[in-house]
Structures are given as C-alpha cells and as structure tokens.
C-alpha cells in the first residue's frame, strides 16, 4: 500500500472495500462508471465490479435517489452519487420527505440503509450553483445521518461506517480536499459515526471545525501558536450524530469556543453546537462564543469575492485573537 493516498482515491478505496466484503453494496450515479466520476472519486469501480453493480444513470437526481431508496428498502445497500451537493435540491423530496421519514411513519417496518455521497463546498470558483456548503440543509431534517470527513483515512473509515449503517447517511466529500493527501486507512478501518476527533491539542481556545474547515483551522492554530495562543482543534466529522461530549470536554480544558463552518451563519451547524454549549456548558466559558461562518450571499465567482464571503485562515486568526484577549 502506498505511503500516502489522496482524498479522492480514498473515496473510491472506501467504496471498493465495502463492495468486496458485501455483495449487496451497489453504486449508482451520473458518470460514475467508465468516466470514474467527474471528480475521479469512483475510479476503478466499474472495472472491478462491473456494470451491474456500478451503474451510470441519466441526469435524473430524483430517479437516482428514489431508486436507491427502493433498493435499500428491499435488501440492497446502495451508494448513490449526487455530483455536486447543490444538486441535492433537485432530489430534496427524497432527502427531506421520503428517506428520513419512511421508517418512522411505518412504525419501524422499513429500514433504509443507503448512502448519498456528494461533492460539497466552495473555494474553487465554480460559481453560485456548484459551490455551496449544504450540510446545513441536511441538518434540518430529522432522520438523516450526516458525515463529512476531512482526511483520506477518515474518508475510507467513515465510508465503511456509512455503508454498513442501517440508517440513511448523507456523506459530504469536500471538493477543496479532493487533491489533499494523507496516510491511507489501515485494513478494515471503520470510523464510527458520531465520534469527533481532537486533531490538535491546546489549552487556550477550542476551534470546532468540519471537513475543509479542519485544515483551515489547523493552519490558523499554527499561526496563533507563534503568538503564544494554543488552539485545540476538534474535527467534528459528523453532524448527526453530533458528538457534543468531545466538544464540551475540550471546552472544559480551554474555556473559549470558536466554531469554524463554511455554511452560512444563519442556520449553520455552529448555531446548534453553540446552543448546546449555552444549555449545558455555560459554566465552562470564560468568554463569549464566536462563529466564523459563511456570509449570507450566494457564492460569487471571482476569487476575491469568494474569499470575502467564506471562512479564511485570517478570519479565524482574527476571531481567536479577539477572544483570547477577552
């Protein structure tokens, strides 16, 4: 096995591992077969598993996710790709109304073990309809699990957990991380959903981040360290289940909290984290909480404009400096 693997290779590796161990795992989506995915995240799957298990679909997001749902209800474990997370809106009925509710409204008769994978987030100049961080959309829907890995090993390990989950999982792969590299996942690596990771220890402030915001928070922490401020960085990894015990434990060590989220401030996951902290961890705080988040505008095209409205290392550093001085 190679010493390093890219995030995009880790996606295909994660799916392939599960397809090898479980014949009920199948993939469907646009351009995932011979093309290997527009982001090259399904390279090699068609060659290894054949067109019966790796099916190229028409551009029909409702049919893709609806068919995945029907297959999941009847004994398969489908992994459906929605190319860009913005396109989840095209099949939002399935994400919001069908998949997460059917188990409940049938009184537990039906289980929907499927994964919807999608390329999420901005920073690459794709414009307003191909750049959104949409994890907060899914967060508003009871009944969906939400995973958003930040490293190649986590991609593979969380893919395993997501595919093995008897519950529906939306797995956000971040476009800005696809080329990033890291240690490959060891054999049989499974990262349980709902377990955050402390990826940098520090005593002065807790930065809670997700997906592409994790390396960004780590960069900010390195800069701050040069100024004598030690930030602890928590990679949330999942939004549902939400690992608040790790966040509260970190806050017990640092007494200061900054959430770093790419989705817009209004309705973002940081608001939920902060509200739980207000409910259960108010006594741990020595300073107000701060949220570094996306602005409430559609994602603009030009680099200068996009940087203005999504979180950057500078914005995190500035927020933490002010908080440390409180």
């Amino acid at each position: 096995m190679a010493d390093v693997i890219s995030y995009r290779e880790a996606v295909a590796e994660g799916i392939a591992r599960e397809m090898r161990r479980d014949p009920s795992v199948v993939c469907l989506g646009e351009d995932i077969g011979a093309a290997g995915g527009v982001f090259k995240t399904t390279v090699g799957l068609l060659e290894e598993f054949g067109p019966e298990r790796v099916w190229d679909t028409p551009i029909s997001e409702q049919a893709i996710v609806g068919a995945a749902m029907g297959a999941a209800m009847t004994g398969m474990r489908p992994v459906a790709e929605i190319m860009f997370s913005d396109f989840l809106a095209c099949c939002w009925d399935y994400l919001a109304n069908e998949i997460p509710k059917v188990r409940y409204m049938t009184g537990g008769q039906v289980t929907v073990p499927l994964v919807v994978r999608t390329a999420n987030g901005g920073g690459l100049g794709f414009g307003a309809q191909h750049s959104q961080a949409t994890e907060n959309w899914a967060l508003t829907v009871p009944g969906l699990k939400i995973a958003a890995p930040a490293t190649p090993a986590d991609v593979t390990g969380m893919m395993a957990a997501a595919i093995r989950s008897d519950d529906p999982v939306v797995l956000f792969e971040h476009k800005a991380l696809l080329a990033s590299k890291g240690a490959p996942a060891p054999p049989d690596h499974v990262v349980e959903l709902g377990r955050a990771a402390v990826v940098r220890e520090g005593a002065d402030v807790t930065l809670v981040a997700l997906a592409s915001m994790v390396p960004l928070a780590l960069k900010a922490a390195d800069l701050l360290s040069g100024e004598g401020i030690e930030a602890e960085v928590v990679d949330l990894r999942c939004l549902v289940p939400l690992d608040m015990s790790t966040v509260l434990a970190s806050l017990g060590r640092t007494s200061r909290l900054v959430t770093v989220e790419e989705n817009p401030y209004q309705g973002g996951w940081g608001a939920t984290v902060v509200s739980v902290v207000a409910d259960e961890g108010f006594g741990l705080l020595d300073a107000p909480v701060r949220r570094v988040a996306g602005e409430c505008v559609p994602l603009p095209f030009a680099d200068a404009l996009e940087e203005r409205v999504i979180p950057t290392v500078d914005k995190v550093v500035t927020a933490v400096r002010k908080l440390a001085a409180y």
């Binding site: 009920s24 199948v26 019966e52 298990r53 099916w55 679909t57 028409p58 029909s60 997001e61 409702q62 049919a63 996710v65 609806g66 068919a67 995945a68 749902m69 029907g70 297959a71 999941a72 209800m73 009847t74 004994g75 398969m76 489908p78 009925d93 399935y94 109304n97 069908e98 059917v102 188990r103 409940y104 409204m105 049938t106 009184g107 537990g108 008769q109 039906v110 289980t111 073990p113 009871p142 009944g143 989950s165 008897d166 519950d167 709902g194 377990r195 549902v240 289940p241 939400l242 690992d243 608040m244 015990s245 739980v276």
Partner: protein, 325 residues
C-alpha cells in the same frame, strides 16, 4: 378467474368498500383525525392487480391507498385502528391514513408526495434483479402524478434499465379538484406517454376486476421475463371527493350518475350471477364482509392510544431517536 376466485375478489372488494364507508363514518364521528382520501370506486384496481401478483412482489401506493393496503393483506382492523390513532394501528399510529404500510406482505408504503414513489418502485425492481429473484414491483398512482418530474425520471430509468416494474395509473379523471384533461397535453395522461419511453402503454377499464387482473397478469409476466416495464392506465372514478374536505360539487351530475352505474362491485356481482353463482352465496360473502368490518370498527374503538413516548422511537434502525452522542 375461476368462479371461486371471482367470488373471493368480489368479497375483498366488498370488504374494502365497507372499510372505506366505516372510515367516512368514523371521521364524521370525530374518531378519525386529519384527513382521509377514500378509494371507494377504485376497488377493482387494487383487487384485480393483487390477484395477478405474487405474494412476494412489491407494491408502492399513494396517500389514496387504503384499498392497496387491504388488498395486499392488511386487515380492516389494522387499518381502521391506524386511522383512529390507536396503538394497534398498522403503523403504530405514526403513519395515519396516508401512509398505510405492511412491509411483511410486500406493501412497502403509501406516499403522500405525489409521484415520489415511482422511482422507489424502480429501485425495488432493480434490487430484485440484482438479488437474482424474479419479483416485480408495482407502483400505483393517480392521474395527477403523470405531470410530476419523478414520473418521467422513473419511466426513463426503468425503461433504459429494462427493470421489472409496472406503473399502474388510477385515472379517476380528477387531479385533486381539477379535471386532469384541463391540465394535461394528451388525452390519456399515462398511456399516451408510454411511447416516449419505448414501453407498452395500455388502457383498461379500472372498474372491471377481470380486465385489470388480465392486464396486470400479462404485463407482470412480461416484466418477470426480463422484457422491462409497462404503463397501465386504469380508468375509474372516485365515489367521494378528493379528501374529506371536498364535497366534489364540481363534478357534472350526469358524469357522476354514469360512473356510479358502472360500479366495480355491481360489475363483479353481475359476472358472478352470469357464471351461475347463486345469489345466496353472494349474499353470504356480503354478510361476511359486513361482519368483518363491523368487528374491526369495534375492536379499533376499544384499542388504546399509543404511549406518548412512542414519539421517540423508530427514527433510527436501533429503534431510537438520538441525534447526538
């Protein structure tokens, strides 16, 4: 159908008709909350199709799905208890009228977002093929669903993958309150679209249980043999309005009269008489149906409400509802 099978189909349709009447009466008594979308008048479609399907085939229905749940093995007691918010309801009273489901009999749900379940049926058919069974999936839907995007996406996907799925349109002439013909570019909203997907599209008298059974049996055999999906448009009529709040006064009196004279129960009864089944035997079937539904009403009335804490079960596969760790 043999006479005995036709008699069984007649009795099942009668059970459905009596159950729908009971649902209507219980609503007026304040014992059924929310709303109901009664399928009285549509019985021959559910019963005819079920007679042609295997017990292990999959069925997906709509919010107007009482008849499909009953035809696929749910009991009147389970269904009425669900409508009456009782713990003994088919879905533990978490679903209600619009979501009747009996997964153990392949009745995989009633979906209240118009057209949403057509792709699911395609997926269930795909699953059957992947698992190497020769099960088929059937999606029942109303004429209004034929103008939804998911209808077209599902048809194309099923056609291009040659999936073993039947799309059965219950064309009752009204898309909720609006005549389907007023809002659709072709005269037959379902069957006329089939050529666009290269699949068979047929029209059948949806009030004739024998005609429905014959068409579904033929198209199901074709799907099972690997020849792909088909679209069946069954013409029928609602005896009630769209939902409880709709008295259906927009329907011309002569149209209503014409269709009520073409009642699926009367048609089946006429056929039974023609084949020599004695009136007394048909009367016994009527009595059994009446008695079954009466007992179901009493049992459902006597059943308890669900424990309020049941609101926090069945979100996840582990039975719970926890969103954080």
């Amino acid at each position: 159908m043999e006479p005995a099978e036709l008699l069984a189909a007649y009795e099942q349709m009668t059970v459905i008709r009596r159950t729908e009447k009971a649902a209507h009466d219980l609503f007026l008594q304040g014992l059924v909350k929310g709303t109901t979308h009664l399928a009285a008048g549509h019985e021959a479609i559910a019963v005819g199709a079920s007679a042609a399907l295997r017990p292990d085939d999959y069925v997906f229905a709509t919010y107007r799905g009482h008849h499909h749940a009953l035809a696929r093995g749910a009991t009147p007691q389970e269904c009425l208890a669900e409508l009456m918010s009782r713990a003994t309801g088919l879905c533990g009273a978490k679903g209600g009228s619009m979501h009747l489901t009996k997964a153990s009999t392949g009745m995989l749900g009633s979906y209240a977002i118009v057209g949403s379940h057509l792709p699911m049926a395609a997926g269930a058919a795909w699953s059957a093929r992947l698992r190497g069974t020769d099960q088929i999936a059937v999606a029942f839907f109303g004429d209004g669903a034929t103008n939804i995007g998911a209808f077209h996406e599902a048809l194309n996907l099923a056609a291009v993958w040659k999936l073993p799925v039947l799309f059965v349109c219950e064309n009752n002439l009204y898309m909720e309150y609006t005549p389907i013909a007023d809002v659709t570019a072709v005269p037959r909203p379902a069957a006329d679209r089939a050529p666009a997907y290269g699949i068979p599209g047929e029209v059948v008298d949806g009030n004739d249980v024998l005609a429905v059974e014959e068409a579904v049996a033929r198209l199901a055999a074709r799907a099972r043999a690997g020849d792909g999906p088909a679209l069946l448009e069954a013409l029928t009529y609602r005896h009630f309005g769209h939902s409880r709040s709709d008295p259906a006064t927009y329907r011309p009196a002569e149209e209503v009269e014409r269709w009520l004279k073409h009642d699926p129960l009367d048609l089946a009864r006429g056929r039974l008489v023609e084949t020599g089944v004695p009136e007394a035997v048909i009367g016994e079937a009527d009595d059994r149906a009446t008695s079954l539904v009466q007992k179901a009403v009493e049992a459902a009335k006597a059943a308890p409400a669900p424990d309020p804490d049941e609101a926090f079960t069945d979100v996840w596969a582990d039975g719970g509802a926890a969103w954080r760790t």
